[in-house]
Amino acid sequence: MTTQAVRLFRKMDGLFAVYKPQGVHWKHVRDNIESSLLKALNSCPPAAPQLAVHFQLLSDGKNSSSKDLVPSPSMVPVLADHPLVTGPQFHKVHVGVGHRLDAFSSGVLVLGVGKGNRVLEHLSKSHVTRDYTLEGEFGKSTDSFMDTGRVIEKATYDHVTQDKLERVLAMIQGANQKALITYSQVDLRTQEAYELAVRGLLYPHGKSPPILTGLRCINFNPPHFTLEVQCVNETQKYLCKLIHEVGLELRTSAICSGVRRTRDGPFKVENALTRQHWTADSIIQAIAHFSKTTRKIRKSGMYRQTAGQFNSSAQIQEQTRRQSEQINQEHAGLSSSTSDAVGDRKTPS
């Protein structure tokens, strides 16, 4: 007989996305989610305690006048099943984190619960790209490339125009495209490789430095500007340094005042849970929403593992590229069907 707590625990298996607020370490987010899941599990009523026969000295019920104490049996719950002796039903829920976000950044953070942690591994090995929105400010330069650091130098930025900025961004994008082609270990003179490159399905093999697959300027009000970036293998510090380098190329200085991840693979910011929704029922709903993508990630991960056993490198690349093409098609498919997800979420009681 499964208890209510065990049935609830079995639903907690899969991946979901959370919106990490700025200024918070990712570990605190993970601990917060784990403790709210444990709170829900331990608030479920425990299993009924075992009963045991106890003899109590009670007065003989037949004659009220007689004062004989007779040991009479009764079924009493066993103290070994008392909550003060057994403790809480669940001590630990395995919650894992996907691509980490440092304290300065905010945005989508993918978490895995229970069996979903295995899928997290596959997600990290798959070559999904991530979308960032970077806020920058011209005129200052700090030691940590962020606006919270100590100001080292100041510069004028009157000569900066949107045209010049776009030219610098195009140059950076070109350099990154070259790096992408080099690290994808593909000979562009072949027809298949050319077709993949045209469709934008090239990705770096093995270890590579951070590569930007897409870069554009969304907003330009000097001194502030906003960039949108799609990248692979990056860290948030690298993106702050990118802003600094954009400033250097424009012969001024720039600092990063905000990093916001809007997409991590198939997980988008519209479906990420905000802090009011870090409760067990919202999380289980989010897991159910992402169950299809989780299954696809697991399948592609397992395919990659079995393909690795056959040890033919050209075939692996072709077939894994087909898998990533399928995942990218799901990105396009998901982006059209995000509107229904937000409305379905119930307000937690």
Partner: protein, 354 residues
């Protein structure tokens, strides 16, 4: 709770209480086995050469190697040599006399060692009465050696006198469970010491209700010696320069001051004097309003003071008049952004900067 007669008889007999010690393995197994073997020796001396006697010794001889070989010899020196060829097979359905039936010793089903208190709770009077009081045995068994200590206690000799003492002191029965969960060692402190400490506090003119309140709030209070309590009370009176009744009031509101070390308190006082620049009478006012500042985290105090004084531009004298700001949770810097982070985003005029 009424314990059944069978349980009581099992519990009170010596072999069981020896087996209830779960801490170390070897000496207790040996004591367990030797005690059983003593009981069989009694049966043998009463009935010579009976089949049940040889059955018992046969069983004992097959025990693990911890068994003390010296004790086999007195058995074999009697006329009962174990002749395995002529062993008479005993059937469990064989009829035995009433005397023999009464002398059969059943070894206890309790494990000699366990990592939880669950197997012992139903059989032990102490543990079951503690559960009925509301003591969280699960929390206590996580602490090293506390579980073994609780199992070894005898209810009528150890626990009951101390519970009655606490009740006489004025501690409410509903709070006893929580008190024992935080400080189970009050059950091993001698009642004379406890009474001496209470009489010391009463001699310092703490009223009966305030002593009861202090013990409920700081369960470890009565485990400290009279010298230590005296030392701390003297320190607070001298250092803060407060009158006797004000010191009593501060200590009654925060009895943890008498339990912990004095070094953090001295450091906090230095911070107030040197970093914040408060004078003696201001510090006295702060401590009597909010005694918690004496044991608050030094780093968090400085962070909150820095934020309130330098960022919000509140003058230092105003902070001294309202020291609740230094311990408020609203302004506290923490892992999840709170009001202080929102206040930082607002510019100097309280209007969003961008």
């Amino acid at each position: 709770m009424h314990v059944c007669q069978r349980c009581v008889s099992l519990f009170l007999s010596r072999p069981l209480s020896a087996a209830l010690q779960p801490s170390t393995r070897a000496p207790h197994q040996r004591s367990h086995l030797t005690l059983l073997q003593h009981s069989t020796r009694h049966t043998l001396s009463q009935r010579h050469g009976t089949q049940t006697g040889t059955h018992f010794t046969g069983r004992q001889a097959a025990s693990p190697p911890l068994y003390n070989k010296k004790e086999i010899v007195p058995l074999n020196s009697d006329d009962h040599r174990i002749d395995l060829d002529s062993a008479v097979h005993l059937s469990p359905l064989q009829e035995i006399s009433e005397d023999e039936a009464v002398q059969i010793q059943v070894p206890s089903a309790l494990p000699p060692e366990s990592s939880t208190l669950r197997p012992y709770v139903d059989k032990s009077e102490t543990l079951s009465k503690l559960v009925h009081l509301g003591v969280n045995l699960w929390k206590l068994e996580q602490r090293p050696n506390v579980g073994s200590m609780l199992v070894r206690l005898d209810f009528h000799a150890d626990v009951a006198p101390r519970l009655l003492f606490l009740k006489d002191l004025g501690v409410e029965e509903s709070k006893l469970g929580q008190l024992l969960t935080i400080n189970p060692f009050i059950l091993t402190e001698s009642v004379d010491n406890l009474e001496a400490r209470v009489s010391y506090l009463k001699s310092k003119k703490f009223s009966k209700q305030s002593v009861a309140a202090m013990v409920s709030k700081a369960p470890y209070l009565l485990n400290f010696s009279v010298e230590r309590l005296d030392n701390r009370l003297g320190f607070f009176q001298k250092q803060l320069g407060l009158r006797a009744e004000k010191t009593r009031d501060v200590v009654t509101r925060l009895p943890k001051l008498l339990c912990g070390s004095l070094e953090p308190v001295k450091e906090n006082l230095k911070v107030f004097e040197l970093e914040f620049g408060f004078r003696g009478n201001e510090i006295q006012h702060i401590v009597t309003t909010v005694p918690k500042v004496l044991i608050a985290n030094k780093r968090k105090l400085t962070q909150i003071f820095d934020f309130v004084h330098n960022t919000m531009n509140v003058p230092q004298s105003l902070i001294g008049k309202f020291p609740q700001t230094l311990v408020s949770r609203v302004l506290r810097p923490g892992p999840v952004p709170t009001v202080s982070a929102q206040l930082r985003l607002l510019g100097p005029l309280g209007v969003p900067a961008r």
